[in-house]
């Protein structure tokens, strides 16, 4: 049994490929738990960052700098009365948030956090991701229909049309990246998520820079389509607050509503991971070609630790700046404790075996975090598109652009 558990550690494939059920289960729990934690902290970060965009402070009361706010929110949502409208279709109403949640979480099975840090590696990985994430539209349609109310119905009709249209552009952009994976000696591409990153490693280039600006254009198209796909601003028409009150989840409350939110944030992470995997080199560190050698390997592997130390430093700065008043004592202690925890994590990350194993995950998550920040930035900056304009952008701008990029990529790929 112990052998079974330890034998995997020396292998260099994912637990799913190795057929190691123990480690696969561990990975599933770690990844899904991690996603839940990230969603919670995203909730806090979004409110905080948005607040600072908008000259206000955001959550400040619950815990130091509102750090405990997500937990307070979670408790509030869990204890809230769960209302199901009388005329609603009970079963469909009940199952709709679960579909969205399952669709959003299932895709994390194939997301490669590192060459071996994925639950499994499917040879149709990217196809699987696109397919499963497209299932969330079913949940939205069902939620809107089951509520038996006009606003959710319009919201869900909008969103189904929106998601189906943007999937086309998204798929074509993905294809152009997959096309690039086949530009090797054997001429064989791959759909596997890990394979795509390895192809970038072999070709010594992130696909965003490949055939400049073709890769960049494809990524931009994908990045726009993925915002529409996850129903976030400026494409948040399905839940357009000022028009449709809350769109498809108008009638939902408490736990079910929080499941929608959980699904939305998880889906944001998932599509960002696709973008990172396809164009930004997945877990590869920046500048592997220019800054190579063991020295730079060491330098870049120190980044995770320094990041956590910097965060800890911010916390301690906050401790120093906290008003010296008995009311704030617990807050100060809490912030100091949080900073100490972050600092400790940072120190652990300097230990050589940890450092080597963690840096892949770090670079992957850092890139995903960049995309997540973009989401917040969009939300603070842009007004909302109107429905017909949204369709126009999807079908008349993004789709032809994606097709053109695909064709030109194919031609360039054959010629060079």
């Amino acid at each position: 049994m112990l052998d079974y558990i330890t034998s995997y550690l020396s292998s260099n494939v994912t637990p799913g490929q190795a057929g190691n059920w123990f480690w696969a289960t561990v990975y599933v729990f770690v990844v899904f738990g991690g996603v839940a934690v990230v969603v919670l902290s995203m909730n806090w970060l979004e409110r905080k960052a948005l607040a600072h965009f908008q000259v206000r402070l955001g959550p400040m009361r619950v815990g130091p700098h509102g750090l405990m706010q997500p937990f307070a929110d979670a408790i509030k949502l869990l204890t809230k009365e769960d209302i199901i409208p009388d005329q609603a279709d009970k079963f469909v109403f009940w199952i709709a948030p679960l579909i969205i949640l399952c669709a959003a979480f299932t895709v994390y099975i194939v997301i490669p956090f590192g060459p071996t840090h994925a639950i499994t590696d499917l040879n149709i990985g990217i196809l699987f991701m696109l397919g499963v994430s497209s299932l969330s539209v079913l949940g939205i349609v069902m939620a809107g229909w089951a509520s038996n109310s006009h606003y959710p119905l319009i919201g869900s009709l909008r969103s189904s049309a929106q998601m189906v249209s943007y999937e086309v552009a998204m798929g074509l952009a993905v294809v152009s990246a997959i096309l690039m994976t086949s530009l090797n000696a054997s001429g064989t591409g791959t759909l596997s998520m890990i394979g795509i990153v390895q192809a970038q490693q072999e070709q010594h280039i992130w696909y965003v820079f490949k055939f400049f600006p073709l890769g960049l254009m494809a990524m931009v198209i994908f990045a726009i389509a993925m915002v529409a796909e996850t129903n976030r601003a400026p494409f948040d028409l399905p839940e357009a607050e000022s028009e449709l009150t809350a769109g498809f989840h108008t009638e939902y409350s408490g736990l079910r509503w929080s499941l929608f939110m959980l699904g939305e944030y998880a889906a944001m992470g998932a599509v960002s991971s696709i973008a990172v995997t396809l164009w930004l080199g997945g877990w590869l560190r920046p500048f592997p070609n220019f800054l190579k050698g063991s020295f730079f390997d060491l330098v870049f592997s120190l980044f995770p630790g320094f990041t956590f130390l910097a965060l800890a430093g911010f916390c301690f700065l906050g401790v120093v700046r906290m008003p010296k008043h008995p009311t704030f004592r617990i807050q100060t202690i809490g912030l100091a404790g949080f900073g100490a925890m972050l600092g400790l994590i940072g120190l652990v990350l300097f230990v050589t075996p940890v450092r080597v194993r963690v840096q892949d995950i770090y670079w992957f998550l850092a890139k995903v975090a960049g995309f997540m920040y973009l989401y917040i930035w969009y939300r603070a900056t842009f007004p909302r598109y109107r429905f017909d304009q949204l369709m126009k952008v999807g079908w008349k701008v993004l789709l032809p652009a994606a097709l053109a990029v695909l064709i030109v990529t194919a031609i360039v790929g054959v010629l060079f």
Binding site: F53, Q54, H150, S242, L244, T245, P383, R386, Q389
Partner: protein, 384 residues
């Protein structure tokens, strides 16, 4: 000129589109509890998919019988009530009422009082436009301008608070002038504000004017021609954006507006974007007026000779001013007693709202929100 009677809304609820056998039309009840109807406006929309086939405004959810209350209050006692009509531009309301009663009494406020009135009214216009900009942008989906405008409006409210002790429902003026002399440092505060605000307005414009999505969402949305505006009695920035150069401050000057040099910005297309541009320009013109007023603030009394008991002669008077939202008129009938016999208020929002059906017919649900926002309605004023 178009016949205004043709614009009376016929919602024809439930009747199918006669041109073709149709799918079911959707009747959508927008409001009174809706985040984007600016209070308790209820709009019943008849939709074909997302296209608006007709609208019906249902108002009165905020009706408080203000006009009836006036008949049981003395002239001075009614003054605070008008602040509650358009509560984001309370100073303008008070100015209109005070001027109307003064006209009835045949007195005129002294110059210093007039100047103070102009400064405060124009500051209030700025505040009102800032509230409009923030909420309008929020309706269209841009969150951030709301917080910027409210941050800057705070400075105006601080001046109000220092002047008369209240921030929102100020009750700043009295019949015959102003009750309060300006406080110590009033001019400095106003001048500081004049330096503070122009960059902020630039900031709003930077966020919105060249923002592609904003322009696409507002251009050619809710178009209305100048003739239609006149036919429907629409006034204020909505009218001016349609190219009609009509501003009561210029046309029928009151409170000494003829002494100031300012322009009336107008638009051309009469769409939502033009209304936005007109209001932004108006904010800058207001700054010009304030600058001139505060530079030339005369000294002297602030109160004309008005008796303790206000008892106007028998007669009737209509007086209108240019409120931030349009023409605000007071029609007062006096029977010679201490209480008005009848007060009728012509609120700009109420009249402007008539144009909603004309402006949104054939457009999309999202445009209804944009158009309601562009009217800058305040339901306290619509329902009175």
């Amino acid at each position: 000129m178009t016949d205004p009677t043709t614009y009376i809304s016929h919602l024809e609820l439930g009747q199918p589109d006669k041109t073709y056998l149709d799918t079911n039309e959707l009747i959508l009840n927008m409001g009174p509890q809706h985040p984007a109807t600016h209070g308790v406006l209820r709009v019943i929309l008849r939709l074909d998919g997302e296209k608006v086939l007709g609208t019906e405004c249902v108002i009165g959810y905020l009706h408080r019988g203000v006009e009836k209350i006036a008949e049981n209050r003395t002239y001075a006692m009614f003054n605070p009530y008008v602040d509650r009509l358009d509560y984001v531009a309370a100073v303008s309301n008070g100015l209109g009422y005070c001027e109307a009663v003064e006209k009835l009494l045949n007195v005129e406020a002294p110059p210093r009082a007039r100047y103070i009135r102009v400064i405060l009214t124009e500051l209030n216009r700025l505040a009102s436009h800032m509230v409009w900009l923030g909420t309008h942008a929020l309706d269209i989906g841009a969150m951030t301008p709301l917080f910027y405008t409210f941050r800057d409006r705070e400075e105006i409210l601080k001046i109000f608070e220092k002047y008369c002790g209240a921030r929102l429902t100020t009750h700043a003026f009295r019949i015959g002038g102003c009750q309060y002399e300006t406080y110590e440092g009033f001019e400095k505060d106003v001048k500081d504000f004049l330096d503070f605000v122009p960059p902020k307005i630039d900031e709003y414009e930077e966020l919105l004017t060249t923002n592609r999505i904003w322009v696409e969402r507002t251009r050619n949305v809710g178009k209305i021609s100048g003739a239609d505006c006149i036919a429907l009695g629409v006034t204020g920035p909505v009218l001016r954006a349609s190219g009609v150069k009509w501003d009561i401050r210029k046309a029928v000057p009151y409170s000494g507006y003829q002494e100031f040099d300012f322009e009336i910005p107008t638009g051309e297309n009469g769409d939502t974007f033009d209304r936005y541009v007109v209001r932004m320009k108006e904010m800058r013109q207001s700054l010009r007026i304030i600058q001139q007023a505060v530079d030339g603030l005369p000294s002297g009394p602030i109160m004309a000779k008005v008796g303790k008991v206000i008892k106007p002669p028998v007669g009737e008077i209509y007086h209108s001013i240019e409120a931030p939202k349009g023409e605000l008129g007071y029609y007062i009938v006096s029977d010679g007693s201490t209480q008005p016999y009848r007060v009728r208020i012509r609120p700009p929002s109420f009249v402007n709202l008539q144009a909603l059906d004309l402006m949104v017919r054939g457009q999309l649900v999202a445009d209804v929100i944009a158009v309601i926002g562009t009217f800058d309605i305040v339901l306290g004023e619509v329902d009175r």
